[in-house]
Symmetry: none
């Protein structure tokens, strides 16, 4: 079983965007045990697209086309494929309803070209687009290669590939032994340090493979086992997970691709019925916005404060003017006073505070990246901790938010709430 | 003049790394005015590599191979190319000296395979590797395509391409006419509607091409002109930009790949010395966090409020309890009271408020996506506007923030501050 990925998009050929779609699909193929020996990129040009489809179909059992399913004149992928397969395009009624509803909801006029997004090659199985309007398709052919049609925008493509296409590929090309995998999430350890700690295990690569993947500010490990039954896979994965945790356990915080430090921490707070607020200076609301993204947070989060200017720190969360004058705003005393002041205002169980230098300029003679984070938690003494983060303004702010969440996670663990 | 990029590396095919090398080279080709209609990825396999070299050489004037120049037994790119060209590999004395010195300096034993890194196809011009040991090469052929050999590690490749290869490509292929481009940014119009409005212009595709690209919640148009001089390109781009603005001008807000609605609006506020605050319910600090990302915002942003719970709306920004009881929190009256209350607290020139239903659940019998945005601006009457946004929790919140920025942008325009 051998597949080729063809990314369709002139933006990729011009270097305007990087072809991350092919990376994602390639990872999925590797997990399914489908070989892939070639990848191609071609522009939004039907003649050249037809030639690469021809070449790919000759040298593979499955050809995956990503991009060019949209409503514009440039989007010609499915028309070109239908011509190659010599089948007409037909309408997916469910996709058409979604498109019609979307335009009705937003009160905008639906133009004719939007109908194109509901079409797929006759004989294929349409694939739902959960993050957009263009339908995908899986076409199985008795006498040529099979084809998978995916949209180009990465958010649409990854969702459709993971939830719609992968199960169908697995069913169609069913291996006897399947690959089962589990994602472990770590915070507070870099990828290279994690790899160094686990080097011997990674080199071994027995029946369980260990693949580290660095995301912004955190690292995940995907551990995968090829096994005949789910029980056998679980036993193998459990064994390796125990070995991993023996080495880097303190940095582990949760499982799953669709998880985050915020989800783990906020769900624990909701479960323990512990309320939270925050006073944010350099992060300017990013901590509160992050926890606001977790469904159900309203049960424990009444609101909070963005105290960017010095005067606002005094006015909104009662940081004593003397503290600001004597210690400065980038200080332990101010971080503690902000956390205590915010908690006192809203009567919550916990409060976080963030004060520091996001950059690019220094503040109070302290360089960009200097950040104090305060935590008031139940009956514990309120603490302020100093950090020095590298990177640009946005990186420093993101890192501050995550470190704040990790401080709270440790407080919850010490309190046996996590 | 037409070139194809072939990235060589099994890691790319397995999805372990993303093919950023091709992005970088593609950008360089576009800058040199060299067309590129295809990109290929192939693994470290000499037979398959030979077939893709064959295909690429047939359909191009220049083939760029990146990767597989290292010292391991997997690295076979130049051996395969030399075989295709029917020339031997010869040693670059300068590169060999660097390799020998490196091993002497570090006191490590140089193994025989390291010598491989100094070899290049006879007849080519060797290219110095400033960040590594493997030499590159530029091979000009009278009777086949030309070839450029580059190393795989991005740090080595980008340095060699930019400093060694690009000047040689420019010299070899003469002063090509170059591509100049400009990015126009739009908000409040979907990609398909924008394309419909500009269809005739896009179809024309004269000397200036128009390429729409949808990002999350906004659309950009890249207009590109191929011209011999920068002045000629500027005139052509100006002409097309004027035509575009005649059709969709009200949605245009700025230029550039590295720009955003927040930057445009906040920089105008900074220039006009107009201060701002916000009271956020469903967005939970995301508006303030977004404007907090713009350097220099501290001059006009003292801070603000996250008023998630009903009680916090009353306590922090003085929304009258009667308003909450009679109109509900998802209402025009509450949105206006939040904006007015936040502004009164901090004495700013403007204030935005966000109250609505982020979902997944309904609130006050109103469905997810129902959002009221309030704007208090200088001496204008405070307004509250109702929106219905589609999508999940995160999309609804992001969309709310951008629409709030756009409301402020329109107020600034009406006030001749933008």
């Amino acid at each position: 079983m051998q597949a080729e990925i063809i990314a369709v998009g002139t933006e990729i050929l011009l270097g305007q965007i990087t072809n991350t779609n092919s990376t994602h699909i390639a990872q999925g193929l590797a997990e399914l045990g489908i070989d892939s020996y070639y990848q191609t990129v071609v522009g939004d040009n039907p003649k050249r697209l037809a030639t690469v489809i021809e070449i790919a179909a000759q040298r593979n059992d499955l050809v995956i086309l990503a991009g060019g399913l949209g409503p514009t004149k440039d989007d010609l992928t499915k028309q070109t494929l239908a011509q190659y397969l010599n089948v007409p395009l037909v309408e997916d009624a469910a996709a058409m309803r979604v498109i019609t509803n979307r335009f009705e909801q937003t009160g905008k006029v639906m133009t004719a070209n939007n109908r194109l997004q509901a079409l797929y090659p006759q004989g294929a199985t349409p694939l739902t687009n959960h993050n957009g309007l263009a339908v995908g398709a899986f076409y199985q052919s008795p006498d040529s290669a099979d084809f998978l049609l995916l949209p180009g925008p990465p958010r649409e493509m990854t969702m459709m590939f993971d939830t719609e296409a992968k199960p169908k590929l697995q069913a169609a090309y069913g291996q006897q032994s399947q690959i089962y995998s589990r994602v472990l999430r770590f915070f507070g350890i870099g990828e290279s340090q994690l790899v160094t700690e686990l080097q011997a295990m990674i080199d071994e690569q027995g029946s369980v493979t260990i693949a580290p993947y660095a995301k912004t500010n955190e690292v995940t490990l995907r551990i995968s086992a090829q096994a005949d039954t789910q029980a056998a896979a679980k036993a193998a994965l459990d064994h390796v997970e125990t070995q991993i945790k023996a080495k880097v356990g303190p940095y582990f915080y949760g499982y799953g691709d669709d998880n985050s430090l915020a989800k783990v921490v906020i769900n624990a707070m909701i479960k323990a019925k512990l309320s939270i607020t925050a006073a944010e200076s350099l992060t300017a609301g990013e901590f509160q916005s992050t926890i606001g993204g977790v469904p159900g947070v309203s049960a424990i989060f009444p609101g909070g404060f963005v105290t960017y200017a010095n005067a606002a720190k005094h006015q909104l969360v009662n940081v004593p003017q003397a503290t600001i004058d004597q210690d400065g705003v980038v200080s332990e005393a101010t971080a503690i006073a902000m956390a205590d002041g915010a908690r006192a205002q809203l009567g919550t169980d916990a409060a976080l505070s963030f004060t520091g230098v996001a950059g690019p300029d220094a503040l109070e003679d302290q360089p960009a990246g200097t950040v104090w984070i305060g935590l008031a938690y139940r009956d514990q003494p309120t603490i302020g901790k100093l950090y020095h983060f590298a990177g640009d303004r946005q990186k420093i702010r993101e890192r501050s938010v995550l470190v704040g969440l990790d401080l709270l996670r440790h407080a919850l663990m010490a309190d046996h709430q996590l």
